[in-house]
Amino acid sequence: MRADRAMTPRRVVLSAVGLVAAAFFAFPVYWMVSSALKPTNQMQSTGFDLVPTSLTGQHFLSAVDKPGFGDALVNSLVVTLVAVLFSLVAGLLAAIPLARLRFRGRKGFLLLVLVAQMAPFEALLIPMYLMMRDADLLDKMPALVLVYFAATLPFTAWTLRGFVQGIPAELEEAAMVDGCNRWGAFRRVTLPLLGPGLVATSVFGFITAWNEFLFALVLFQDQSKRTLPVWLSTFQTAFGTDWGGTMAASTLFTLPVVVFFLIVQRNMVAGVTAGAVKG
């Protein structure tokens, strides 16, 4: 059934479709990068400027030079990674019983998670702020970690539960017949198969936390604690927005996500093939 490695017409057509799709997704990103490379007075051009006529590295230089970039990068990485790790751990712990076990209160919890997703998160800004104030967490990194943890956890638990369910329980049962206990079966069969699901979920969590602006702005007053999105907004000033700088900074801003994706992708998807062979 699977196409072989030869270049059948079918493969060529599919590859072409794949490349068109890739171009569709990449185009706005390309536009961001090319705008970052255009001189300011060519940003809005009436000519056909699909390929920029002249290039400048000045916007990238000014972005990297802009005060606070290093601090913001570190802050963002720390807050985001810690929050994603927390929510993956707590989410996976919750996903297993939700998908595999039957117990009293399960549906109640599912409903809780669902309804938790319905509230507009920005609407929680003021109550959250007051909570953090009363807990004496303002201007402290844990506050933001908690917020991002809270923002991504319901979703993480919910999707991971779906992924666990997607893996036939029979595979685990077969492993148990082969002499594994329940945990061993889960670890050797289900967990590797969960790899891609964990990738999708953790990338999602990463991007959500990585992009968040409002809470990061409000919970910190100390400028050394700015995160990248807040730093990014320093290009919008009373004296107009430096769009060239914004686009250059956004490009730098996007790169860590891609790196994160490539790392988790390699580590987690590798598990799938291994697991699939055993299963």
């Binding site: 300011t40 303002l138 107009g240």
Partner: protein
């Protein structure tokens, strides 16, 4: 006198602390900002050059031994949320800067310290009237003017010369005339624009409205009523349309001057005029340094020859949050800021119109800032009611009005009537 007052405040604070009510979080809730001798000052990004604040704070700390100024530059993006939450915190900043259109919302809610009594210490008789009005609520003064800027017509001297326009327009008719001439002289270039004027530059429209003698609202005690449904407003829309049509500007009719940023368009060198603030001119020059020598400004002309049209005054006030625990220090800070020395520096280093000094001589020689500073004294502001902020923040009916009239969707008469109804709704509700 001052020492006595400070003593009283200290005693009051002590009483609160020992009685154990409230204030619990004040100790260290914001890390290092909790100390009694720290004055937290929030100014906006771009408001004061670093040299200015460095000197100001050094002098202030010299005058007040043991006091440290904690200066934090705030970003414009998200400032509303930031201010609201900060004011609700246990330890709000002691001095904040508020945009003038933003001030009413804070003063009307009693969240700022009443400065009416202190005005005389703060050069109150020198205050820029437009800004002063923006910080007044119910007869009381809740903030001190900081600085202002307003729009002028930035023009290309070389292109004017080439087209045979020898003197800058001093009336609306002359302005139209200049546009026609410059346009005709460059008729060969399809990209050329005699005047770049986006359809929703409603601050420019306000100039025409006020020039006609019209108003956005009429005040009736504490209540504001929409007043855009007037012959004056209609005439202002008609003149705006005439400008746009005469210039044949390619600027979008459903955008304001920020999208695209008009200085980026002007910087391309194919535009002879734009109605803009000095910083927009500065940015255009930065993107295209050749413009420096060939640009200047003239005030927005009035319909009556020889007069200039009233202008919308953009700018900032500084205020003391009611919850600040260092009220007297904060007032001293405002006092220093309002002193002639620093007001002159605002003009000289910042290129803006100072808020508490009528002396604008530092700006006079500048080809762009000079005309601005003159016009600023007749600066006006949008209605000073907390209900105006939301009108402007989102779906500004005045912008929709201009777009509808310019695209021909509505007649000017219909457009002003509909805008009036919407503004009335927003102010009434």
């Amino acid at each position: 006198m001052k020492r006595w007052k400070r003593l009283a405040v200290g005693a009051a604070a002590l009483a609160v602390a020992t009685s154990g009510c409230g204030m619990g979080g004040s100790s260290g809730s914001g890390g290092d900002q909790g100390g009694d001798k720290t004055l937290t000052v929030w100014l906006m990004d771009g408001s004061a050059p670093k040299g200015f604040t460095d000197e100001l704070h050094k002098e202030f700390e010299g005058q007040h031994p043991g006091v440290k100024v904690k200066y934090e530059v705030q970003l414009w993006k998200g400032i509303q949320d930031k201010l609201v939450t900060a004011l609700a915190s246990n330890n709000p900043p002691d001095v904040i800067e508020l945009g003038n259109t933003q001030t009413a919302r804070f003063s009307a809610e009693n969240t700022l310290t009443d400065l009416t009594g202190s005005a005389k210490d703060l050069a109150g008789d020198q205050w820029l009237s437009g800004l002063k009005e923006s910080a007044t609520w119910d007869g009381k003064q809740y903030a001190m003017p900081f600085y202002a800027a307003n729009r002028t017509v930035i023009y290309r001297k070389d292109l004017f010369e080439k087209a045979g326009v020898t003197k800058t327009p001093t009336s609306r008719e002359e302005w139209l005339d200049a546009i026609r001439k410059v346009k005709a002289a460059n008729a060969g270039d399809p990209e050329f624009e005699a005047l770049y004027l986006p359809g929703q530059s409603w601050y420019v429209w306000l100039s025409f409205l006020w020039d006609e003698g019209g108003e956005v609202t009429r005040q009736d005690g504490k209540n504001f009523k929409a007043a855009v449904d007037s012959p004056e407003a209609k005439a202002a829309v008609e003149y705006y349309k005439q400008l746009v049509d005469t210039a044949g500007t390619k600027a979008a009719k459903d955008q304001d001057e920020a999208t695209p940023q008009q200085y980026e368009v002007f910087a391309k060198g194919k535009t002879a005029m734009m109605v803009a603030l000095p910083w927009e001119h500065a940015n255009a020059v930065k993107a295209n340094p050749q413009l420096k020598e060939v640009t200047a400004a003239f005030p927005i002309p009035s319909k009556e020859a020889g007069r200039t049209a009233p202008v919308f005054l953009g700018g900032s006030n500084v205020a003391i949050p009611a919850g600040s625990k260092r009220q007297d220090l904060a007032k001293d800070y405002l006092k220093l800021l309002s002193s002639v020395k620093y007001q002159n520096k605002i003009a000289k280093d910042g290129g803006a119109v100072p808020g508490t000094s009528k002396d604008v001589s530092a700006l006079a020689s500048d080809p762009v800032a000079g005309p601005m500073a003159l016009a600023a004294q007749h600066g006006r502001v949008t209605p000073t009611t907390p209900k105006w902020g939301p009108v402007e923040a989102g779906q500004n009916p005045l912008k929709d009005m201009l777009t509808a009239a310019l695209t021909g969707q509505k007649t000017p008469a219909d457009a002003v009537r509909d805008a009036n109804a919407k503004i009335g709704q927003a102010l009434g509700g």
